[in-house]
Subunit: 344 residues, 2 copies
DNA sequence: CGCAACGATGTAATCGATTGCAAAAGAGGA
DNA sequence: TCCTCTTTTGCAATCGATTACATCGTTGCG
């Protein structure tokens, strides 16, 4: 910001009107007569004027942007969601700020975002943030509207855009049972995560509904990552009494699981069937192509963004509306009828 | 922004000093005596004061943020880079804005970002933007510092952080040749992309250096995506005279290529060896695990961010420094000695 | 003892756009 | 022609923090 930009006053002079008129011609065209509007627009063109957002935001007492809190930016799962958010936000003129909640200085800067004037609203993709951050500003400070996406806070009535995780789990289990599996395991996400909980609970419920055993030993710990899927595979390999099918709470874990199994000489779906969750793009291209529960990631992002805009503009529902988007089973190659007998 | 926040004046009153002193105590502590500083800090605490960024930015004539121009946010390749950028930017206090350059309203809003006061600098991951956008503002307007990352503009001397793509290609080809391959193909990225060009050119050069044929029919069109890799596989399958090894310009394409081949009954590396490029996280977990050229994505992001900060602060080199980060070959399972004879 | 120099603080102008209020300009209507 | 009502415009205050410049003590040194 070294040279001088034309400011609104320059445009006003060029057009022979007042700054107020220029301002109105640009942000409330209907308040200005057709003729002056044309003159002003021409002057804007001629001077190359561009509005100064800092000034507008100061005067309007707003931030001019929203922030998206992502648990781990490096995780490609969020890419599609972010894209959806960006798409939906583009026409609004709001900036989209991105912050990684698991970063070094997370604590303080998160508060900074939340507390005031850095953002007019936020989309939270990480319900695992410290309570005091998410519920901050209840006291003296003002808290901007929040929309949770993917994850949410139990017992909290703020707006959210999620999927029915238990139903997704049920689809996976039903599919496996229909294929003839009776011995079904589950690779879980990180502990305490709401998605982990609901998917695991959904799995348990579906198993029970089919009158199948729920063996705790077949519930493998994981954290949604590729590596944790591979680690679960090692534990599966070390078992005497293995499940013939495994439902993984994320495609990444399913990929890691299948890969590690393959390297140990176990075939999918020949020896064990695997179902993933998410339907990330590569799922269809894996070897074998992954059977999975598809969730509409881009739509989740777009919906969350739209919801946030409504909240900011105070249009639409007063708040607290929880959208639940549909999931569906996508059958590919990684599931099949169970082997005559468990290998080994 | 409905309720009233404590402003600097409130803090000043609470502390019994002037607003100037409060401002200095907060952003230039050394200008204020130890005692007053303590008093001010206490008053800040007591009032719950948080600075208004819009006001500061207006006064300082800056934007308070940088923007990252991403060609396709949904592409997970960029996730790691964004993460690196976010990490490096966090301590600076600059906001990180993200914009998808292939979005609907791209043209106009990109200009908006570039031209002024929306950003103090930008990191461009898409050198394919229209010239008039990237070179905009040379005339009357001021253009903020730019750092190119991954991609760059040929003949442009602005700062950039890249890798040696030709060398990466050479590593891949050398590896294949060392395994005994003489018939080597290449799946390319999108036309006119600088990465496509340099990698293809590097491939040609390496091939020539080994005295091997450069057959145009073995250079498959692609666009870095999974689908285009799978499409290339179809073309490979339809050939009479196939290469025994294929170097793909991205891991995504390699994944798509291998997957499609597998579904057609062709084995990797038994029937054909495949090398990727990028070393995305899943590469190590694929079946077969992908041999690839690793590039330090997170480091690219961090370096670009640091460079941009230097440019903004006018520290460091005056500008135009081009960093080239190292790449390396990672040998996994997708490459092996060529089959005795080409299948079919 | 007196003056220069320095450090700490306060005063007030400033950044650039928006908007409440008032004045001016039309538009009808009697 | 005069008056009321509506639409367009302009004036000037305002948003909240920063910072150039001025002020007021202090300290140091000749």
């Amino acid at each position: 910001m070294t040279k001088r930009f034309p400011k609104i006053r320059d445009v006003a002079e060029a057009a022979g009107v007042s700054t107020a008129t220029v301002s109105r011609a640009l942000s409330a065209p209907e308040m200005v007569s057709r003729d002056t509007r044309a003159i002003v627009l021409k002057a804007v063109e001629a001077t190359g004027y561009r509005m100064n957002h800092a000034a507008r935001n100061l005067r309007r007492r707003q931030a001019g942007g929203i922030v998206v809190l992502v648990p781990n930016l490096a995780n490609p799962f969020f890419a599609q969601i972010l894209s959806g958010i960006a798409t939906a936000m583009a026409p609004s003129g709001y900036n989209v700020l991105i912050a990684d909640t698991r970063q070094a200085d997370a604590g303080s800067s998160m508060l900074d975002y939340l507390h005031n004037n850095r953002a007019d609203g936020l989309i939270v993709l990480d319900a695992g943030l410290p309570e005091e951050v998410l519920s901050a500003g209840q006291g003296r400070a003002f808290q901007p509207p929040i929309v949770f996406a993917c994850e949410w806070l139990e017992g909290d009535d703020r707006a959210s855009v999620t999927i029915d995780n238990a139903y997704g789990a049920r689809l996976a289990i039903d599919h496996l049972v229909a294929l003839g599996h009776r011995r079904i395991g589950h690779v879980m996400g990180p502990p305490d995560n709401i998605l982990t909980l609901t998917r695991a609970q959904g799995t348990r419920a579906a198993l029970a509904a089919h009158g199948l055993a729920v063996r705790e030993g077949w519930f493998f710990a994981g954290d949604f990552s590729l590596g944790s899927g591979a680690a679960a595979a090692q534990r599966w390999l070390a078992m005497d009494d293995r499940p013939t099918a495994v439902f993984c709470a994320s495609d990444a874990m399913a990929g890691g699981f299948v890969g590690a199994l393959h390297r140990a000489g176990v075939r999918v779906p020949g020896d064990v069937s695997v179902v993933g969750f998410d339907d990330i793009e590569i799922a269809a291209h894996l070897v074998p192509a992954l059977t999975t529960i598809a969730q509409p990631r881009r739509l989740i992002g777009e919906t969350a963004a739209q919801k946030l805009l409504d909240l900011i503009r105070k249009t639409g529902q007063p708040g607290g509306v929880r959208d639940v988007l549909p999931v569906e089973l996508v059958v590919r190659e990684s599931t099949g009828v169970p082997a005559r007998r468990s290998p080994r």
